[in-house]
């Protein structure tokens, strides 16, 4: 008689438990760190030192190498946070709640970076640091959503209630992501439309575009690295009274 095969491989179930996740990701960390460091270093030197300057903006356009990757990850990271929240709500998975909690401060930091760099670029280019157009305002709303998710976590003393409430807020906030993305096309804004398009060639010279791609790849690796670091520390914190964490701490001390 044929045994029924499990739907998912064994390693997947191991990855789903906090302990298994912690142990499996340990070996990934150095690789991710090195890849992120190399990509960010190459991208920064290439973008700031070797890419040609822009015909109209001169050197001030180079802030794009921080601004665009940070904004990309601020948006993508919101989906990571909301998806983790949804998985935690539906499957009552502890690890998913931990990933959601880990993603919130990281996303908030990236949103703040893109707001600040955009503002610094806006002064010499537009003539103002800030304008309440749809893109910039919706990005500010994203920042507040991230802060709200963080704040909700700390508003509850009960861990499960905190996770549930912030997951619901994270899910409601997903309505803002398409607005941010399409705001420059739907309304008159001061912010320019997207340079990197999904279906067309980028409206940017290749000499300027390749370092930007390297920076975006570097930011993705950096995001994964910091998300894992945050999640791992959250795992250790929540499981600090369990045997395996205590054993590890003992082992590390000797």
């Amino acid at each position: 008689m044929a045994r029924t095969r499990p739907l998912l491989p064994e390693w997947f179930h191991r990855l789903g438990s906090p302990k298994g996740f912690y142990q499996m990701t340990s070996s990934w960390m150095p690789w991710l760190a090195v890849t992120a460091a190399v990509l960010l270093l190459v991208g920064t030197v290439w973008g700031l030192g070797f890419a040609p300057q822009d015909a109209k903006q001169g050197n001030s356009f180079r802030i794009i190498y921080i601004h665009v990757p940070a904004a990309f990850l601020a948006l993508a990271g919101y989906y990571v946070m909301a998806a983790a929240g949804a998985i935690g709500l539906v499957w009552k998975m502890k690890l998913a709640h931990m990933v959601m909690k880990a993603a919130a401060p990281l996303g908030a930091a990236l949103t703040l970076i893109s707001l600040v760099t955009g503002s610094l670029w806006g002064k010499p280019t537009w003539g103002t640091y800030w304008v309440w157009d749809a893109r910039i305002t919706s990005m500010l709303v994203l920042f507040f959503l991230y802060l709200g998710v963080i704040a909700l976590h700390y508003a509850y003393t009960n861990g499960e209630a905190a996770s549930k409430a912030s997951a619901v807020l994270a899910l409601v906030g997903t309505a803002n992501i398409p607005i941010i993305y399409k705001s420059v096309d739907w309304w008159y804004t001061l912010h320019q439309p997207a340079t990197i398009k999904l279906t067309q060639a980028p409206s940017m010279h290749p000499d300027m575009f390749y370092p930007l791609l390297v920076m975006i790849a570097g930011f993705y690796c950096f995001y994964a690295l910091v998300l894992l670091l945050n999640t791992r520390s959250e795992i250790l914190h929540r499981e600090r009274r369990t045997r395996w964490v205590l054993d590890m701490a003992e082992g590390g001390r000797s």
């Binding site: 822009d54 899910l171 309505a175 309304w187 409206s203």
Partner: protein, 149 residues
């Protein structure tokens, strides 16, 4: 799928859909308020309120920039294709302000249909190009013009 999980999954999908629809309706209702500026066609059609602080944005028309001698007053026209609005501004313009570039002016619509601006911002487009490439393109354009009889 376990019925309880299925129920929770439906609840999650419901939250996302309801939130999206609610936000979509609000933004649709406020669409004119979300626009940062009025286009010249809207101003000419009378959709923009006169006598109150508004913004007008569009492309600065070629050869329309007139600087008053000995002063900071500048007059130019902005267009969105079908219509044009005359803008008068006293002050320092941003570096990227120029002909055939987009600009957004904040100010007041006068009874005669002209616009008195208190602030002018330059709007940058999504194109990035090294100066050599722009020069080469301009030269090619000039050549094409000369070749034409």
């Amino acid at each position: 799928m376990h019925p309880l999980r299925r129920q929770r999954l439906i609840a999650v999908i419901f939250i996302v859909i309801v939130a999206t629809v609610a936000v979509a309706l609000v933004t649709y209702a406020l669409r004119q308020n979300i626009n940062l500026f009025f286009a010249p066609s809207q101003v000419v059609a009378g959709d923009a309120p006169a006598g109150t602080r508004i913004r007008v944005g569009g492309m600065v028309v070629e050869d329309s920039i007139v600087r008053a001698p000995g002063g900071l007053q500048t007059t130019f026209r902005v267009t969105d294709g079908p219509s044009e609005v005359i803008v008068t501004y006293t002050g320092i313009l941003p570096d990227l302000f120029g002909e055939n570039e987009a600009a957004v002016a904040t100010g007041q619509l006068e009874p005669d249909g002209t616009f008195t601006a208190t602030e002018v911002l330059a709007k940058h487009d999504e194109n990035y190009m090294p100066p050599e490439v722009t020069d080469a393109m301009n030269k090619a354009m000039e050549k094409a013009h000369e070749a034409r009889p």
